[in-house]
Amino acid sequence: MVRPDLALELLIFRAGETRFGLDAAQIAEVVSLDEVEIARDGGDGGPRVRRGGAEVPVVGLGSMAWERARAQSRSAKLVLPKSTPPAAGFVIGDPDEMVRVEADRIEPLPPLIRDMVRGSGMWAAARCEGGLVILIDLAEAAQGAFRR
């Protein structure tokens, strides 16, 4: 039985036809990409931004690639998780909204999919107004990105 008091505040963004949700409790800040200092624009080790005196590696979420994010730097956002310094920054398209989703509206990803996306941080789907939202765990996404 799912505890009725369990819920997530989700930051929803869209990538292609898919809507994704990030747990707001994992997020320290969301900034426009054109407001951050780019420390390295690709190459070995991937792109990095400078934040809080440290170089933070950047990972695309959903289907958002760094090159595309750079091309759309006004609308692309950088999501920095709560860790000091952040383990990674994640680039996303424009966020759509913040929504609260109770745990009983969250379903695990089906077994066939779970194995295929292991390490991506995608772990569940939430039933929200407008359809399913795929939930991404930022800590797992960061670990997975650097293992690959």
Binding site: A15, G16, E17, T18, R19, G62, S63, E107, P108, L109, P110, P111, L112, I113, D115, M116, V117, R118, G119, S120, M122, A125, R127, G131, L132, I134, G144
Partner: protein, 176 residues
């Protein structure tokens, strides 16, 4: 006589010999008859949990092209697999329309939606009405075939969904 014809005749002969007279005591098997790329196929009814209209399939990045995505159905999020693509059917990429369906199926612990062009019928027929598949069956689908039968006088390939799911698990592991 050419090899294809020999194979066909041998297979037909075997099929006729293997097919016993249907009696009232013959065990009935339920089949779900579907269309894929213009041909008839069937799934065993025991593997089918539900048949759903296609709505809001959400693509999941990092999955292979034979996984269109996930879909919500009756309290669960189901994966949807494009069985036509898995079997390499050339015409399997046609657009979804109002006849398209997702057959929710289970095999052991694995369950998934299976995208088909249409569900034609659900029928009960004697087990003896399912024959060994013809030797000439297309090689790319042979590994998924459980048998053949006739539906409305049309040859209908009976597919083993467990083998389809096995293939997906085999190919898909770590695809992200």
């Amino acid at each position: 006589m050419d090899e294809n014809r020999q194979a066909i005749e041998a297979s037909i002969e075997g099929r006729q010999r293997d097919a016993p007279e249907t009696t009232g005591e013959d065990e009935l098997v339920q089949l779900v008859i579907v269309t894929l790329a213009g041909r008839l196929y069937a799934f065993y009814g025991t593997a089918v949990i539900a048949i759903a209209k296609v709505r809001d399939i959400v693509p999941i990045p990092g999955t292979p092209d034979y996984i269109p995505g996930v879909m919500y159905h009756q309290g669960r999020v189901e994966s949807v697999i494009d069985i036509g693509r898995i079997m390499g059917l050339a015409e399997a990429t046609r657009a979804l329309d109002r006849k398209s369906r997702v057959v929710i199926a289970v095999s052991g612990e694995v369950y998934s939606g299976v995208l088909v062009d249409a569900v034609e019928d659900v029928v009960d027929l004697p087990r003896s009405g399912i024959y060994a598949p013809l030797e000439t069956i297309a090689p790319e689908i042979r590994e998924f075939v459980a048998g053949e039968t006739q539906y409305q006088e049309r040859s209908t390939v009976v597919l083993d969904l467990a083998k389809v799911f096995d293939r997906v698990l085999e190919r898909g592991d770590g695809a992200a």
